[in-house]
């Protein structure tokens, strides 16, 4: 046995792995809106030199790194309330302009959280009747009008119930909106035929994904890549 210590390999938790994988879908030139919660964390996994324009619906394009409280500008937040910084070329605008950008098709990609996603792309992420109904904010327009809508969510809820379903049981945010779903277990596309498995998280089996999914899962003929 050598005394040389190998560098300790940090185990990556499944959520971080999902966030890092989602970041790879952001490509040069895109205008991107990252929703509140997990999607916001995608910023930490984007290469610093990637030419991409981040939009936040409270009225800014060109979002830079989040600032600690002592360096924060009290007038500069993102839609989730985080104190952010500008980059060279940032712009500020009002809510009318911000949503004109969303609805007119200028937003290439949005990443949103979800309570439920149906196999036809229906998205529910704003209301659990009787328990949680804070309003949808900008989510309806983001889900309905971004050119590509990607959902980031745990594959099941806290009780282990599937969140990917044949039909949503909760009130919808938007119909037939979702193109792709990143979970802690898999990357799944919404296709005209239903959910199609594209990638597996490392250490997760196809059988486990099928068991955790509440709808038919279309499997590829070829080997399934891992992330």
């Amino acid at each position: 046995m050598s005394d040389v210590k190998l560098p300790e390999v940090k185990p990556i938790d499944p959520r971080t792995r999902m966030v890092a994988r989602a970041a790879r879908d952001i490509t040069p030139g895109m205008v991107v809106n990252l929703g509140i919660g997990l999607p916001t964390k995608v910023i930490n996994h984007l290469p610093a030199d990637l030419p991409v324009c981040l939009h936040t619906e409270n009225g800014m394009t060109g979002i830079g790194p989040t600032l600690p409280y002592e360096k924060a500008d009290r007038n500069l937040i993102d839609a989730g309330g985080a104190y952010v910084s500008p980059v060279s070329g940032s712009a500020y605008f009002d809510s009318v302009v911000s949503f004109a950008l969303v609805r007119s098709g200028r937003l290439d990609l949005t990443m949103l959280g979800a309570f439920e996603v149906a196999q036809n792309g229906d998205l529910a992420n704003w209301k659990i009747p009787g328990k949680f109904s804070p309003g949808a904010g900008g989510a309806i327009e983001l889900a309905q009008k971004a050119r590509r809508v990607v959902v980031m969510t745990t594959h099941t809820d806290r009780k282990g119930n599937p969140k990917l379903l044949e039909r949503c049981s909760l009130p919808l945010t938007a119909e037939r909106a979702v193109d792709r779903i990143f979970t802690d277990m898999a990357v799944i596309d919404v296709t005209p035929e239903g959910f199609a498995l594209r990638e597996l998280a490392e250490g997760v089996s196809v059988t486990e994904v099928i068991a955790a999914t509440g709808a038919k899962l279309i499997l590829p003929d070829t080997d399934i890549p891992t992330f």
């Binding site: 009225g59 500020y92 309003g135 919808l172």
Partner: protein, 230 residues
């Protein structure tokens, strides 16, 4: 020729708001919320108000004071998830809440400020937000009729103003302020700095003073406007 001077005190400006008024309130979170006008409205105690705002601020902040004092009958918002008091009042039916998609709220206010009676949109089709709304068909597609929102009063927070009411804003403190500043019978703006006529360049004016009725210079920037450490 000299432009009229609309500068006044907080007290006199807010005294123009009657009971039962519909009031547009600027702001998205803390930035752009007219905290001083809101506190004066709480002090004067006008009742049965309908407030239109992006969000309900947070518990103990901004319009939450007006909710707590029972001055608000109805709230038209896009989201109130950060204010547990507002959610509790809504759940107990002590407060009527109308939810609106964020950009549609902005566009309804813009229409109200632009003299347009309603807009047509496909936003919300297939969701609860479409329930009870008039639907028209255009080019074979169903569209919702969203009525313009024009209010009795707008409460605006500006970074800089001049006595005529020309307004300029800071960073993401714009949000709903510019469209709201065009969409009410009485538009009241508080400003962090009131500059002499001519010191606010025509190039930097975002809201022309012709839309604005009263301008109030804030005597101090209270901690309401500061960075929130959550």
């Amino acid at each position: 020729m000299k432009l009229p001077d609309k500068s006044t005190s907080l007290e006199a400006a807010v005294a123009r708001i009657p009971d039962g008024a519909t009031v547009l309130v600027g702001g998205f979170g803390v930035p752009g919320t007219p905290f001083s006008l809101i506190r004066e409205l709480q002090r004067q105690g006008q009742k049965d108000l309908t407030l239109v705002k992006n969000d309900a601020n947070e518990a103990g902040m901004g319009i939450d004071h007006l909710l707590a004092s029972g001055q608000v009958k109805k709230l038209i918002v896009t989201h109130l998830g950060l204010n547990a008091n507002a959610i509790a009042m809504m759940n107990d039916a002590r407060l009527e809440v109308e939810f609106c998609a964020q950009g549609i709220l902005a566009e309804r206010i813009r229409a109200g400020g632009a003299g347009i009676p309603a807009i047509l949109t496909d936003i919300g089709i297939g969701t609860e937000l479409a329930l009870g709304k008039q639907v028209v068909e255009m080019n074979g597609k169903p569209l919702l009729v969203e009525p313009a929102l024009r209010a009795d009063v707008a409460l605006i927070h500006a970074d800089r103003a001049d006595p005529f009411g020309n307004l300029a804003y800071a960073a993401t403190a714009r949000n709903f302020n510019p469209p709201m500043a065009m969409a009410a019978t009485i538009v009241i703006a508080e400003a962090e700095r009131l500059l002499p006529l001519g010191d606010l360049s025509p190039e930097e004016v975002e809201t022309p003073g012709a839309f604005v009725d009263q301008v109030v210079e804030l005597p101090e920037i209270s901690e309401d406007y500061g960075v929130v450490r959550r």
